[in-house]
Amino acid sequence: MSSRVNEFAFKIATANGTGSGSANGLIMQSIFRMGIPVTGKNLFPSNIQGLPTWYEIRVNKNGYTARTPVFDLVLALNAATYAKDVAEVRSGGWLLYDSTWPLDEKLIRPDVTYIGVPLADMCNTAFKGIRERILMKNIAYSGALAALIGIDPEIIRALTQEKYSKKPALMDSNQKAVALGFDYIKANFDCPLPIHLEPMDATKDSILIDGNTAASLGCVYAGATVGAWYPITPSTSMMEGFKGFCTRFRRDAETGKNRYAILQAEDELSAIGMVIGASWAGARAFTPTSGPGISLMNEFLGLAYYAEVPAVVFDVQRTGPSTGMPTRTQQGDIMLCAYASHGDTKHICLYPADPREAFEFAVNAFDLAERYQTPVFVLTDLDIGMNDWMIPKLTWDDSYTPDRGKVLSAEELEAAKSFYRYLDVDGDGIPQRSLPGVHPKGAYFTRGSGHNKFGGYTEDSDEYQEVLDRIGRKVQGAATAVPAPFIIRNPGAKVGIVTVGGCHAACVEAIDRLAQEGTPADYMRVRGFPFSDEVVEFLNEHVTNFVVEQNRDGQMRSLLLLETGVAGTKLKSVLFYSGFPMSAQYVIDGVMAKMLVTV
């Protein structure tokens, strides 16, 4: 076949807990350093050791980063999943296996080319100790892969040097293992394969980062000082990131004291309580969690809404319902977050599409939470949160100052004739706020029970409704302050494709391909809730809008229907909720299938 340069995908099948993660990271980072756009998807089990795990890498010169389900090459290194893995090689593709053992009959397919590398054998000879042999087998396949697809060995060497600069023994082992795989391929096979890499210059302004790390960095830059959490996959690494950055940036040089507090709570109920307590006392506070945590937080979220206390909640969504598949991705909490808690509530939600937006929206979330004195959700998902994404470098505007909202200082309180916590002084639905410990005139009683605009307890219908209506107006007012929808209008487009969050990568690729195939579509990615007029206008512009999202029930579609008044016939769902990130092909197939029905 003719060669395909910088446009292919491969998949590595291993067992969890064997150290393949660092090998896979090494491969992806090497390709990135060659200047070639690259995406990695880690498909891992909810397990510490032993269960199957896969790592998919897509190389794409055009910069498309969505997952692709078509693999040119599979590294089948886990006997437990041979049958499944060999089936995923495209016809005419390649399969690498460990030839220490004879080729398993499960792996045999007439339309696939086999590449046997005696990984275990070589590593057993070269290394001592069981652990090292297992670990180095992974590094050895990186070396083999490097030779097969043309990863620059110098780049691998440089990366291992950087990574193990303080552990020379490990560096030596790693370099030895890379050479084992690399040299074996060079000696025994024609390489590189027709699918291979050639250096480009398309990544120098980018970084490889996961969304949890980026979001935690956003919290640091926003000036968050209190983080409360209960560990839950896939959000855990967010607090680890926050801790790491705080250790670096938030320790007072003189006293060694911390300009932050991290509280590991006993459960998510407590975590959100701590956030509300800290925000009430004036700190910028947040909690990272996932769906089950949000379910537990519901009661407190209603309190924060009704008592008007800021709170920032990161929901790194995983599959539901219930425990679901904790290590798989989904967008199943859209409705839950929009209306969390009993009674009439509605919450500001932000929907980043990638780690860069996770960073930026983290900062927005604190500003919005304090300006509107209400909970704000940042909804990412496992794919955004835990996978490394190639994104443009993060930037920061040093003129940024946090929007602390209408918090009255001691001087302002002293000068004020009176202060009533829930009075709509400015007519924008946003009352003035005071912090405890500042001034006697600022004192008020925060409560989740019925209260009037003066902050007093009430069971009077009119007084109660007056406050509830104002809060409704206030939150609706945030529609103009949340990030505007991302819109692309294509000439000749008759339909709209609407999506949210991490489906973006698949959708933009699909839009390009649809246009090439003669079906141009307009595109809107919703980035915030409550919805702005712009969202409604876009939907109204098209007879049909395909709402692409990752859940069974079309939650974004439901939310759009509920909140915009757009006719239900205008919105058609394209749903993908297997737990894996979406591919462009899926979007195209889904849209085309419904398009035929529509036309």
Binding site: G223, F249, N258, S270, M274, E299, Y457
Partner: protein
């Protein structure tokens, strides 16, 4: 209605404290609890304690959950921020508020349902963290607002107003706190203001979680014959095992006590708690001794009261986490945000 403010009438005869405030200045709204409720007596003791400590009311944060007891923060310190949160979850609010602003003097008021049932986990973990909070558990053994169900602190054999006998073991907040490593543990009685006020004062000054279980009879649902949380029962069975007096920093210790009978335990800020042992060999700084003594008294049908245990070396949550002094919101933003140059440099890690 708890928003009906008490008229602020200043009687010239009312004695001002060191910062010129009278007890009136430490009051709040009119109580909406039943006449004779033990909780109102505790509120009066709290007012007295703050007044005696010369605390500026607005430096205090008063927190609660849900229930009769949790309404009481509205009835004292009108110039302090109050937070009536959700049922059983006051400890987490206090934990967050305390982490955000270590200068706040925090008092949390809770009940036996709020603390020992729905909020049991939060109470335990706030004790473990040693949050700097005076936690007053107003303990009456029943759910009042829902009309008289047994709570988790009801003693086995105690009889409800409707005539049912409680068969389950009671959760004893004091023993719980001691076994969880609480650094300040006391029990008192709403009807014994002389004992309660000094304990409250010491608890407010304690650097860490100060747990006070106050037996506070419910006049409407649990003050009858056969109830072990009734006024009459408590008066009869209460045994003060140790008397505590709170002596502020730089104050001469008056020699009311016989020499030798007094044990002085220094507090974090240099003030002192002076203990007079009513019971021989009682050591309020010995956790195991306190625990076994209380158990022995219980076995004898008695309720041991007093400041039962104090750890003079208590390190609170903020100290343990090495959080910088003062409210975190007052940290200058440039000390919190590393800026664009640092971001540029940091991102080399992600190349």
């Amino acid at each position: 209605m708890s928003y009906i403010a008490k008229p602020k009438v200043h009687h010239p005869s009312l004695k001002p404290n060191a910062i010129g405030l009278t007890r009136r200045d430490y009051e709040g709204a009119l109580t909406t609890l039943c006449a004779g409720c033990g909780h109102d007596s505790i509120t009066a003791a709290i007012i007295q304690a703050f007044w005696e400590l010369d605390v500026e009311p607005h430096k205090v944060a008063k927190l609660s959950g849900i229930g009769c007891s949790s309404k009481t923060p509205a009835y004292f310190l009108r110039e302090a921020h109050g937070f009536n949160s959700v049922h059983g979850r006051m400890p987490s609010i206090a934990t967050g508020a305390g982490a955000a602003n270590s200068e706040l003097m925090m008092i949390g008021v809770s009940g036996d349902g709020d603390s020992l049932s729905i909020g049991f986990g939060q109470l335990c973990h706030a004790i473990r963290r040693n949050v700097n909070l005076l936690y007053v558990l107003e303990n009456n053994g029943v759910y009042g607002l829902t009309k008289g169900q047994f709570s988790a602190s009801a003693d086995p054999g105690s009889i409800s107003k409707k005539g049912e006998t409680n068969s389950m073991a009671a959760i004893d907040g004091v023993l719980l706190a001691l076994s969880l490593g609480a650094t300040f543990v006391a029990r008192s009685f709403s009807g014994d203001k002389a004992q309660l006020v000094p304990i409250l004062k010491a608890g407010l000054k304690h650097q860490g979680f100060a747990f006070i279980d106050v037996i506070s009879p419910c006049v409407t649902f649990n003050d009858h014959e056969g109830s072990t949380k009734a006024y009459a029962y408590t008066r009869e069975h209460q045994i003060e095992v140790v008397q505590a007096d709170y002596v502020p920093f730089r104050t001469e210790i008056t020699t009311e006590y016989e020499a030798g009978a007094v044990q002085r335990v220094p507090m974090h800020d240099g003030s002192i708690v002076a203990f007079r042992k009513v019971t021989e060999d009682y050591d309020p700084t010995d956790r195991d001794n306190a625990y076994s003594h209380i158990r022995e008294r219980q076995a004898a049908g008695e309720v041991a009261t007093g400041l039962l245990y104090i750890d003079p070396n208590s390190k609170d949550m903020v100290e343990q986490n090495e959080v910088i002094a003062g409210p975190l919101y007052s940290q200058p933003f440039e000390k919190l945000c590393p800026g664009s140059e640092a971001l540029e440099k940091l991102q080399l890690r992600f190349r």
